[in-house]
């Protein structure tokens, strides 16, 4: 293959085999690992959701036990948020950011590998709980004091708290890496305001992660101290206020919502211009509104707490700040419509998912606007209305955006274009099933059905709507299976992509698919926001494919994986005992030492 020949020219070996994946520091391979792992956990979280829906298919059902039901909804949310949506975004960060800014890798390739291995071990650790005495069952929000030793004597909450700490380390390491990469490693001429919107949203998301995760880390340390050492951070009998947990959790939790949705907004801002054959409408406004949402995300956390009794002043403040955040969100939607207006719309699968994102996310945003008003929220919070809202935002929003990204960038990642016919079937089936599942939840919630209940009274009028929601969920399964089938078929015999299957404007489309290990033979000079769409800047960008002499790339290393294993053993040792923890410390320090003094060529 030409790429291999070019790679040999450049003095860079392409390797294969399991060991090469364990030791890889190539951002594209790490991106693959993130994406594959996240898709597997997306399927696991989906199976958990199916079990929930089957249990609720009719009143007084006995498909699962009440205790296992609580484990299912806790792990469904935890899995989808931390092991599916966030790492799917991270997969795009890894694969696409260096390609979009003209870099050969991320700033810290070995730290990047370390992030992945910590993430993987955190996922495995948390899911071990299913076979080690019971999974977490206190909700993904883990409100104290239900999580105290007194009311949750089992180890589920320990698995949850330690697992989130492990996953948090992975997220933090990745976020620092991307901030440094984006700020320092852009190609010459790529000023901040020439960065693609996806790069911008990655930057904003990374800042949100490094500011939000320390807050949940502190809260989890308090909780773990309460549970392991007998402190009283959240124990009301000892004078503590259990609302402290809620403030800390949502001070993390609301920025987390934007951590989940901003990358999808970034993806949509790439897909829409490409398939409209027209640059993004109001690029600076879209960028600034993304930054503004990131800032405002810190001033709205108590809208998750209107029912706890904060008093009218706090309720009013958080109502107004929450409504304010609707403005930049609306502005983004209008600019996306403005992008499509007057364009030449090619309704490929990626474009369909992006348009679906706009509609479904608008719906989720509007139901969010309804419970931004505290009096209305007091009827809606903790009911299925909010379940409908979050699924329109996270499934209709984040997941639809991520699917748009997968259909859009899969050719760049693998060199093959996902089958268009299967893609269209996937989209329409998912759109119908998704609405059938979640739309009735608005009504069943307003009609009085609380969330997180394993059963409901047969005489409250909830039966039919729950039945149809379950049918919708059962239809979502084949939609996702069509997608998985499409991936497998395409990898085997998909249409070759070429450099630029969609006629995209951004830099990643200038180089081969999949890109050579070093990405750019020559780092090009960037002269505009969409360099491939202008004659002059296109020529400058295509220089990227000329290899001029030896390219220095970081060598593979197994020390990131070793350090990650040590760190995960150290943290899980809190639960498993010193005979896991102490070897973990030693392994981690050994790994870090060798990592630090490893020759880099």
């Amino acid at each position: 293959m030409a790429t291999t020949a070019a790679a040999l020219d450049a003095g860079v070996k392409t390797e294969s085999g399991v060991w090469s994946w364990i030791t890889t520091v190539d951002h594209k391979r790490v991106g693959f690992l993130y994406g594959t792992t996240a898709l597997i956990f997306f399927l696991i979280g989906g199976v958990e959701a199916l079990a929930i829906r089957i249990q609720l298919m009719r009143p007084d059902n006995h498909f699962v036990s009440p205790d296992f039901y609580n484990q299912l909804f806790t792990m469904h949310a935890t899995t989808m948020i931390f092991m599916a949506v966030m790492p799917l975004s991270a997969s795009f960060f890894n694969f696409m950011i260096p390609l979009m800014i003209g870099a050969r890798d991320v700033a810290f390739p070995r730290l990047n590998a370390f992030s992945y291995w910590v993430f993987l071990l955190g996922c495995v650790f948390m899911n071990l709980s299913f076979v080690m005495g019971g999974a977490p069952d206190a909700g993904w929000f883990g409100y104290s004091n239900l999580t105290s030793k007194q009311f949750s004597p089992g180890h589920g909450v320990d698995f949850w708290a330690i697992g989130l700490q492990i996953l948090g380390i992975a997220s933090l390491a990745a976020a620092f890496n991307f901030i440094v990469t984006i700020i320092n490693m852009r190609a010459p001429g790529m000023r901040l305001m020439r960065m693609p919107v996806f790069v911008w949203m990655t930057l904003v998301t990374s800042f949100l992660i490094i500011l939000a995760f320390p807050v949940i880390t502190v809260a989890l340390v308090f909780l773990l101290f309460d549970r392991f050492v007998g402190t009283h951070f959240f124990i009301p009998q000892a004078g503590a206020d259990p609302l402290l947990w809620q403030h800390l959790f949502w001070l993390f939790g609301h920025p987390e919502v934007y951590i989940l949705i901003l990358p999808a907004m970034g993806i949509v801002s790439e897909v829409l211009p490409t398939f409209s054959r027209k640059p993004l409408f109001g690029y600076p406004v879209v960028v600034y509104s993304g930054i503004f949402i990131g800032f405002m995300g810190w001033g709205v956390w108590s809208h998750h707490m209107f029912s706890v009794g904060l008093g009218p002043l706090a309720d009013s403040f958080f109502a107004l700040s929450t409504m304010l955040i609707a403005i930049p969100t609306g502005v983004k939607i209008f600019n996306w419509l403005g992008t499509m207006w007057g364009g030449r719309l090619e309704l490929k699968t990626a474009m369909l998912f992006a348009v679906g994102f706009i509609i479904l996310f608008t719906m989720g945003g509007l139901s969010g606007f309804m419970h931004a008003s505290p009096p209305a929220d007091l009827q809606q919070t903790d009911t299925y209305f909010v379940v409908a809202h979050i699924h329109y935002v996270l499934f209709g929003g984040a997941i639809m955006g991520i699917f748009a990204g997968i259909y859009y960038w899969f050719p760049k990642m693998t060199g093959r274009v996902l089958d268009e016919r299967l893609g269209q079937i996937h989209f329409w089936l998912q759109l119908v099933a998704m609405n059938l599942t979640f739309f009735p939840m608005h009504f069943v919630g307003l009609l009085g059905m609380p969330r997180r209940v394993y059963t409901y009274g047969a005489n409250l009028g909830f039966n039919e709507m729950n039945f149809w929601s379950t049918i919708g969920a059962l239809l979502l399964a084949p939609a996702i299976l069509v997608f998985v089938y499409n991936i497998l078929v395409t990898l085997r015999s998909g249409r070759p992509a070429g450099n630029d299957p969609w006629g995209g404007g951004t830099l990643e489309w200038a180089i081969p698919s999949p890109p050579p290990p070093y990405n750019f033979g020559t780092v090009p000079e960037i002269k505009s926001l969409d360099p491939l769409w202008h004659k002059e800047s296109r020529e400058a960008a295509l220089v990227a494919n000329q290899v001029r002499g030896h390219i220095h790339m970081p060598p593979n290393s197994h020390w990131p994986a070793v350090s990650a294993l040590g760190m995960s053993m150290l943290l899980s040792g809190m639960l498993f005992g010193w005979y896991v923890g102490i070897p973990g410390v030693i392994l981690m320090l050994f790994g870090f030492y060798n990592w630090a003094f490893e020759p880099c060529h």
């Binding site: 069952d137 009311f151 029912s307 009794g309 009218p312 008003s373 209305a376 009827q379």
Partner: protein, 341 residues
């Protein structure tokens, strides 16, 4: 639903017809949803309802606008063979300003009544209000009337037309007190006292339930609201203030009373003058209630017997253990508890 007539004086409602018409396809009416938050039966619930209706109008308008605009764009600008490349428009300052200001105006129109309603619904209840202490337990609700000396469980009785000032507390973990017909929910937070106030405007019995995850039987933590006329309410209070019945010691109920006093029951349950436990519900007038076990089951001898036989089997996680009672013992206890009218 048991009883209440829809309020004919409040006409021109928007949301109820909207929802009913959406549900009409399946042949349903709103009367089939007794726990609905869209059928207000108190001043507090009506304040929320008015706000919600104004919001729903905007939400529907905005959503239809975005949906129709998107569909129009998809049809109008769909790629056609031979169409020229579109013009590369980069933005329009006037449009950006317009679609920033327009949502701001709509938000202001909703924000002003929102803040008004927040202050109105959280104001101090008027003097002469009926004071009720609500205490959440895993997994049942306790209701105390401090001024009346009445304590009951799972069934809240209030008179129509008088403001009820509710203090909400928790005995263990977080719960949330929610009768949709009287208005919004309010959490029961250990170590805190929360407040709501409402004035019921319709007589009848309405379901409610805990709305904050509180452990394994969260779904089974239900309750009933009984709104009655002032005279009926006074009669209920008078009956509740009487001491418990003492059955003839030779009767089955009398044997049940002796069994109650001699067994673990007394450790958790109060029967005025008989026992003083405070972990489970006060049973002084349990026979007068329409439901048992956190309003999960109707109060019939058969269901009460099944409950006493194996509480954790009837309500997962129940703190009341299986006492290993014989069928005779269960029958005696059922006879006694049923007699406590």
């Amino acid at each position: 639903m048991a009883g209440p007539e829809p309020d004919k004086t409040r006409s021109g409602r928007f949301l109820l017809p909207l929802v009913s018409s959406l549900l009409a396809a399946s042949g349903c009416t709103l009367q089939q949803y007794p726990q609905s938050s869209l059928s207000p039966h108190s001043d507090y619930a009506w304040d929320i309802q008015r706000l919600l209706e104004a919001q729903v109008i905007w939400v529907v308008i905005i959503f239809m606008g975005v949906l129709l605009a998107t569909l129009f764009i998809l049809v109008r600008f769909r790629a056609r063979p031979g169409a020229p490349d579109p013009q590369h428009v980069h933005g329009h300052t006037g449009l950006e300003i317009a679609w920033t200001i327009a949502p701001a105006v709509i938000l202001t129109l909703v924000a002003v009544p929102t803040v008004e309603t927040i202050y109105k619904t959280q104001s101090t209840p008027p003097p002469g209000s009926l004071h009720v202490r609500v205490i959440g337990h895993q997994w049942w609700w306790e209701f105390q009337y401090p001024e009346l000396g009445v304590v009951t469980g799972s069934e809240l009785h209030v008179p129509i037309g008088r403001t009820v000032a509710v203090d909400i507390e928790s005995a263990d973990v977080l719960h949330s007190f929610w009768f949709p017909v009287i208005g919004g929910k309010r959490d029961a937070v250990p170590g805190r006292v929360n407040h709501i106030a409402f004035k019921a405007d319709t007589t009848g019995t309405f379901p409610g339930q805990c709305a904050e995850l509180c452990g394994v039987s969260h779904a089974n933590m239900r309750m009933k609201l009984v709104v009655s006329t002032p005279a009926e309410f006074e009669a209920w209070v008078a009956a509740q203030k009487l001491g418990p019945m003492t059955p003839d010691s030779t009767s089955l109920a009398g044997k049940g009373r002796q069994l109650f006093m001699a067994s673990a029951c007394v450790a958790c349950h109060t029967i005025s003058g008989v026992s003083a436990g405070v972990i489970g519900p006060n049973l002084t007038h349990v026979g007068s209630r329409s439901s048992i076990a956190g309003a999960l089951y109707d109060n019939t001898p058969e269901l009460l017997g099944q409950w006493l036989n194996n509480p954790p089997g009837r309500k997962p996680g129940s703190l009341m253990p299986n006492l290993g009672l014989t069928q005779d013992q269960v029958a005696a206890l059922v006879a006694y508890l049923t007699s406590l009218k």
